[in-house]
């Protein structure tokens, strides 16, 4: 178990089926069905990509026009030139990166401490993590709105990042704890006999071993921050607005603005597609090792 975690923590979860297997008609049909499902799942993006690369006068025509127009990137150009998109994108990234780093710096020691405690502590932690994850966001975000206003940090990326660190902290600790729990305690003892302090053990022995687990937790926290709409809607106004909030403010306005919203959505989609292809094995590892076994 431990060897697996250290050497092949991520990719080991999903192994391709043996190639030598005979391809029956049934498995061909199921492959075709799955490809179709994947296409249906991607359909909204394909459609959006088409709409934002059409000239505005045909982009939203009914019935839809699929041929006979010259594709254009004007919506992207307008997005860049007439809105503060670049600023919103920077805000989104700053909030996501900042909250991921802080969440890990706070979460790693806490998760380590919890993993070295008896089983019932972790069951109760899991329970609290679930309850806090399921809380209606508004019940913590509306008071945060008032608190941030009275502290004068309303509409700053700092306040939004701090809120997201706290909101995602139970989940991060719980995921990280499950990765730590896979590392045998004997390793800590050996390190401490060799003269490491508790802190040294964490820094020199545990964190290097935990790299894949930390990476998985980092991806999750980053994604959560990057996706967040509700918290950003309440805690930001103009100067630290994030892209998801910006996109909704463009809706119900003029057609060119709508097209710009679509262009913004595409610009946000492309890196995320890259993330989902690169990170899929880590996400799976995080889900199966981290959340279920714990």
């Amino acid at each position: 178990m431990i060897a697996d975690t250290i050497k092949a923590p991520a990719g080991s979860v999903i192994k391709p089926a043996p190639r030598a297997r005979r391809r029956s008609a049934a498995s061909r049909i199921s492959a075709v069905l799955l490809i179709l499902t994947a296409v249906v799942m991607l359909a909204p993006f394909i459609w959006t990509a088409l709409s934002v690369t059409k000239p505005t006068d045909v982009a939203f025509a009914n019935p839809p026009i699929l041929t006979g127009y010259t594709p254009t990137l004007k919506a992207f150009q307008d997005l860049w030139e007439t809105t503060y998109f670049a600023q919103y994108l920077i805000n989104t990234l700053v909030v996501a990166v900042l909250s991921t780093i802080v969440a890990l710096v706070l979460g790693i020691p806490a998760a380590y401490a919890l993993s070295r405690f008896p089983g019932y502590v972790s069951a109760i932690l899991l329970l609290l993590a679930l309850v806090f994850r399921s809380l209606p966001r508004f019940s913590v975000v509306l008071p945060m709105y008032e608190i941030s206003k009275s502290l004068g940090i309303y509409d700053t990326t700092f306040a939004l990042a701090a809120a997201l660190v706290a909101i995602n902290q139970p989940f991060s600790i719980w995921l990280l704890r499950n990765f730590f729990a896979e590392i045998p305690k004997e390793l800590d003892e050996a390190a401490m006999i060799d003269g490491c302090t508790r802190w040294g053990t964490l820094r020199r022995v545990m964190i290097p071993l935990m790299r894949p687990g930390i990476f998985t937790a980092g991806i999750f926290v980053f994604l959560f921050a990057f996706q967040e709409y509700l918290t950003a809607l309440v805690l930001t106004d103009t100067s630290s607005k994030t892209v998801p909030v910006f996109i909704t403010t463009q809706l119900g306005q003029t057609l060119p603005m709508l097209q710009q919203a679509g262009a913004a959505a595409m610009l946000l989609t492309l890196p995320v597609i890259a993330i989902s292809f690169v990170a899929q094995k880590y996400l799976v590892a995080g889900l199966s090792d981290g959340s279920v076994k714990g």
């Binding site: 498995s27 490809i35 806490a110 401490a113 679930l130 509306l142 660190v165 919203a261």
Partner: protein
């Protein structure tokens, strides 16, 4: 591990959660008993926010709609997730590509996916789905202004957004089912269907329960996707509880913070009731380990 070490390692994280989760939550509970506006201290008014919330038919509609959405979406996701994961499990070289393509819907901000989704259905914007349905049946469905078509669209979007995650979890679970178990079932003469119902599903029921729990929690909180998908949510009875809270406590012109907080507290109670079976299971486990 010594107490002091535990406190030092755990302390910073605990402080942040205490300050930024517990304190705001306590504030919400306080507000729910007050007549209050942003930035000013409130007056205690007892339970009248609660009686006002409970006598508003809008709350009842929002609760019913949210529960309906939760039940249908969760059931659909479990069935579809299992079927797709089973197909995926038998797939060879294609798997990483199809998985990656499906995951896009999950990793994207919910609101961005919802905007893209709404364009497929919006007649004013030349939606492809409308066009196909109209070409096939001659009917023009009003996806945004009629209750049931709008519900179906919102449900479809919610399933679309949450399915990849559930499918991944179930897939990871299926890969943990020992090969010997399947082989034994086949040797004993079980049909494919029976193998699924009597061998595989019972083996991964822990994961199925977890998927169920996560899905219920996420759908009960539905908010983001209704902004683009159901602009007239209240008028056509498709308002979620969270959207109702937002409208009451935050949207311009109505900052009934006390009332909104009371609805929040009621929503927390509802969520705890829905999660009760899972919570009890976890507590039992905790006691067994103690």
């Amino acid at each position: 591990m010594r107490r002091r070490e535990f406190a030092l390692l755990m302390g910073p994280s605990l402080l942040v959660m205490l300050g930024l989760l517990v304190v705001p939550l306590v504030r919400t509970i306080q507000w729910s008993f007050q007549k209050v506006e942003y930035g000013s201290p409130g007056d205690f008014i007892g339970l009248s926010n609660y009686s006002q919330a409970l006598s508003d038919p809008r709350l009842g509609r929002a609760v019913l709609f949210t529960l309906l959405l939760t039940v249908i979406v969760t059931a659909t996701i479990l069935v579809l997730g299992y079927l797709i994961a089973t197909g995926m499990n038998g797939l060879g070289k294609l798997r990483p590509y199809i998985l990656g393509a499906m995951l896009v819907a999950y990793v994207l901000p919910n609101i961005v996916g919802a905007v893209s989704f709404s364009w497929l259905f919006d007649q004013n914007f030349g939606g492809a789905v409308n066009y196909v349905i109209q070409a096939l049946t001659g009917q023009n469905i009003l996806w945004f202004t009629e209750t049931w078509p709008n519900r179906i669209m919102v449900m479809a979007h919610t399933v679309w957004h949450l399915l990849p995650f559930s499918m991944l979890m179930i897939l990871a679970g299926l890969q943990g089912v020992p090969k010997e178990l399947r082989e034994a079932a086949i040797i004993d003469g079980a049909s494919g269907r029976k193998t699924h119902f009597y061998v595989i599903i019972p083996t991964i029921r822990g994961i199925l329960g977890f998927v169920c729990l996560i899905t219920i929690m996420d759908v009960l909180r539905t908010f983001d996707n209704l902004i683009p998908l159901s602009p007239q949510a209240d008028a056509i009875g498709n308002e979620s509880i969270m959207l109702y809270v937002f409208d009451t406590a935050f949207r311009d012109g109505s900052a009934q913070l006390g009332l909104g907080s009371a609805i929040n507290v009621l929503a927390i109670l509802l969520i705890l009731v829905c999660l009760f079976p899972f919570i009890r299971g976890l507590l039992k486990e905790a006691k067994a380990k103690a």
